[in-house]
Symmetry: C2
Subunit: 396 residues, 2 copies
């Protein structure tokens, strides 16, 4: 456990509701703010958006949110009108338990698509979770575990920021593992702070932070139906504004980057965290497009897995990204090793490049273009036989 600075007036629970088949597997999380909190959200851009996503979208942003209830093991996606009713009922049960209006409670789900929720599990489980709410690290630990699917570790990030009104604390936790494609927030993440921030500022801050964190990771590029990031701010002091708001936004972004990197690092079957740095494009969007195309290529991912410095795969992926460039505009490094300069292949030590890939858990490739000042930092993982095995037999 980290030495966590916990934001004030939040409580957490993570329990075994019985939604999952595995005995003693936590599958229901609840996060509650003891006072009304400003809340903003960013969501999947998939046209097939899960029921809880639709419910959250209709309720956010708002100044008086009280928390979120989350289940893992069932996505409540592709479930029609019944799914919407079920998501609303989950929120209502949590709201009854803590004593607030149903609309003040948000809801999220992750798991298998296309199965109705077994609601009887929640009729008893959600009240039980409200009775277990706990403000300590134990509560966070339980909640962070309860949202996982095939993740192997919990993902938590914290920051404390000095401020004229006293210290502000930020806590984020997330789940990832697979169905991670960078189109909005690609998983579940919850960021809690005791700062006071007006909902419109909170929303624009989260949108910007998401663009540079959760939108810059990819496991296999498959955008989930359930992606949800919620940012709560329940501070009592004067609302942040001006430079203080801007600086605070940067800290929120760094929390989001930590969580996003943790998701790429703990992707299903992954053996490498790969950072792709693209610079010198006409604008940031071009850099992101190139980085995402490289990140999503199975040929790039298998080369990294195999410790094979087959850099033609990196360059050719950039070539089909849709961004216009000429070969002479492009140079490439793997770690510190230059492999390709201004469109000309460089002699390089294949054994050293291979050793770099084989001996490091975290590796970096850098593509430099001569077109402008656009840039992007993007995170992905390798593609391993374990990923295939894990996903060849997930529902059945």
């Amino acid at each position: 456990m980290h030495d966590w600075s916990l934001p004030t007036a939040y409580r957490y629970a993570g329990i075994v509701s019985g939604l999952r088949k595995e005995a003693n597997r936590r599958d229901l999380a609840l996060v509650v703010s003891d006072r009304p909190a400003a809340c903003a959200g960013i969501f999947t851009q998939n046209r097939v958006a899960a029921a809880p996503v639709q419910v959250c979208k209709s309720r956010l942003p708002r100044p008086d949110a009280r928390g979120v209830v989350i289940c893992s093991g069932n996505a409540n996606a592709c479930t029609g009108e019944q799914g919407i009713a079920d998501a609303k009922r989950m929120a209502q049960l949590a709201a009854i338990g803590i004593g607030c209006q149903a609309e003040q409670m948000l809801v999220a789900s992750t798991g298998v698509i296309g199965r109705p929720l077994p609601m009887q599990v929640f009729e008893s489980g959600i009240p039980a979770a409200t009775r277990k709410l706990d403000a300590s690290i134990d509560g966070i630990n339980d909640a962070a575990h309860a949202i996982l699917t095939t993740d192997t570790v919990i993902k938590v990030a914290t920051r404390a920021v000095k401020h004229s009104g006293g210290e502000i604390r930020i806590l984020g936790f997330a789940k990832g593992a697979a169905m991670i494609g960078p189109n909005m927030a690609t998983m579940l993440a919850f960021v809690l702070t005791d700062a006071a921030v007006a909902p419109p500022h909170l929303q624009s801050m989260l949108t910007r932070a998401g663009q540079r964190s959760f939108n810059c990771i990819s496991v296999e590029g498959h955008t989930s139906t359930n992606d949800t990031v919620l940012l709560f701010a329940n501070g009592k002091g004067p609302q942040l504004s001006g430079t203080a708001l801007e600086e605070y936004g940067n800290v929120v972004e760094s929390v989001c980057v930590d969580l996003a990197r943790a998701i790429a690092r703990d992707a299903e079957g992954a053996k490498h965290l790969v950072t792709i740095e693209v610079e010198g494009t006409r604008n940031d969007a071009e850099a992101t497009k190139i980085a995402k195309t490289i990140a999503d290529s199975a040929l790039v991912k298998t080369a990294i897995y195999g410790g094979d410095p087959n850099w033609g795969r990196f360059v050719s992926a950039a070539g089909y990204s849709g961004v216009m460039f000429e070969e002479k505009d492009l140079s490439l490094w793997l770690g510190d090793m230059p492999l390709y300069r201004d469109g000309v292949p460089l002699p390089f030590e294949a054994a050293a490049a291979s050793a770099y890939l084989r001996n490091n858990r975290e590796v970096t490739m850098r593509l430099r273009f001569s077109l402008g000042s656009g840039q992007c930092k993007f995170w992905t993982c390798d593609l391993t036989p374990e990923y295939v095995h894990l996903n060849a037999d997930y529902t059945t």
Copy 2:
């Protein structure tokens, strides 16, 4: 071997030039038309186009082509100015051998990116290939083998068409295996016919056929630097026009579809050929966009591999394709089994659906939208541990 109807006045060779390390592995193919042939080409849309692609593009379409020389094992891509000179020299050596102008000869390559061609191999190898030219099935067999990389079988398709001027024959052969993404022609294919067709007609015919065949397959969606499809027509009779030209175009298309399907079927490590039928979109382009997004999803591909009817992955892939639709617009079948109708999940026999995937080498999924009359038929393969192993150690 099929009972092939061979187009007249073509000869073929496939030899061991020494480009590949493996002893006795054919790596150099030559196809020659004994009389000047109209020739059209379609090529990769990758911004990083290999040297032979650039040379072909500058020479096509033309009325007097005499053939194409092809090497496998080295892509001659990302090789700068030297690569262009080397590709031209390959064509020149073949032209000298058969006695024509260098510009009448085309050139193609496939293999590892970023390595200079060992030209001394071709200085002797290409003259040797010209001496081995053979009009029989043996010659075709040699040539079809010499262009393969990790393919496990040769891909050949033939047709014979009755025509007022006598029978027209069409022969196509191709290679695929990996780095197959549907943006133009995604591999090497050569289609030879003894029809008489003017170059502009030949070009538009090939463009249209490619759009419905090679552009409708995907292995991992990584568009190669070297994709090349060439269509030769060396007929002496009157040039095809009107209805006869149109009918002939349909036959050319069916040859291209045969080759494209054969590539998806023999993709690296593939255990399934998956046909994705999309219908009822606003236009064909939308149907193709949806089909390609599904085809490129690692989660869809691993589900097929595992015999797991996890249809939420199919629907959610459609959802992030970029095509606008509502869930109620969509219905889904796996084989004959309806799984999802008008946005509502249907009860289905998971065991029967799983058996369908496990027991069939070729499987079909169908997505029906209620938006219009657009449609597409698309072919892909599953993602297997073998694919990962094959690509984790390809260059080194």
